[in-house]
Amino acid sequence: MANTSVPKKPLADAKYAQPINAISIVAPAVGWLIPGAGHLIQKRWIRGLLLMASVVIMFVLGVLMDGRIYRPNGGDILDILGFIGDIGAGGLYIVSLARDLGQGAIAHATADYGTKYLIVAGLLNFISVADAYHIAVGKKP
């Protein structure tokens, strides 16, 4: 059988692509620890500040609304998923655990919004970490 070779289509982002380098590891790590910092160290000032403001304000509002902060656990699946969401906030999550925030009893209806704010702040930070990585490897300008 003839060995037919199909010409590969060039990737849409090939013109930006770069090999993995130090910044592609440091930027996501810093971006996770300090929301938005992964963009700031790559000199994407406006994007970084907007991401930082969005994630930090959302997390702080969640705490102020008496939202629950999930600790590491192996119990109910929703508790595990809540923990995975919360841990996305990186340094904010670590500080809030250290200060024992978000452990009180829920006293009003909108406190549940606070819990969701905390989880979504972490999940949004995961997205911004992925974006910082894509910028670092050149997949995104």
């Binding site: 907007l50 991401l51 969005s54 959302m58 909108t110 702040a121 974006d131």
Partner: protein, 60 residues
């Protein structure tokens, strides 16, 4: 200190922050980011109104 937002205010604030992050991370240039962020915000808030009216009809 405890913050008690109304359901609507909480939903709108949620929409603002989520839209900013979606806009920045899901598009490549500033113009597209702004357009997509606004689109997400409108969809979030529009969803709140649609869900609100649906619940109002279900309650009747």
């Amino acid at each position: 200190m405890s913050l008690a937002l109304s359901h609507f205010n909480a939903a709108v604030l949620f929409a603002v922050f989520a839209s900013v992050v979606f806009g920045i991370t899901q598009r490549n240039n500033a113009r597209d980011q702004l357009r997509y962020g606004l689109y997400c915000f409108v969809m979030f808030v529009g969803g709140v109104f649609v869900a609100g009216w649906l619940m109002w009809f279900l309650r009747r």
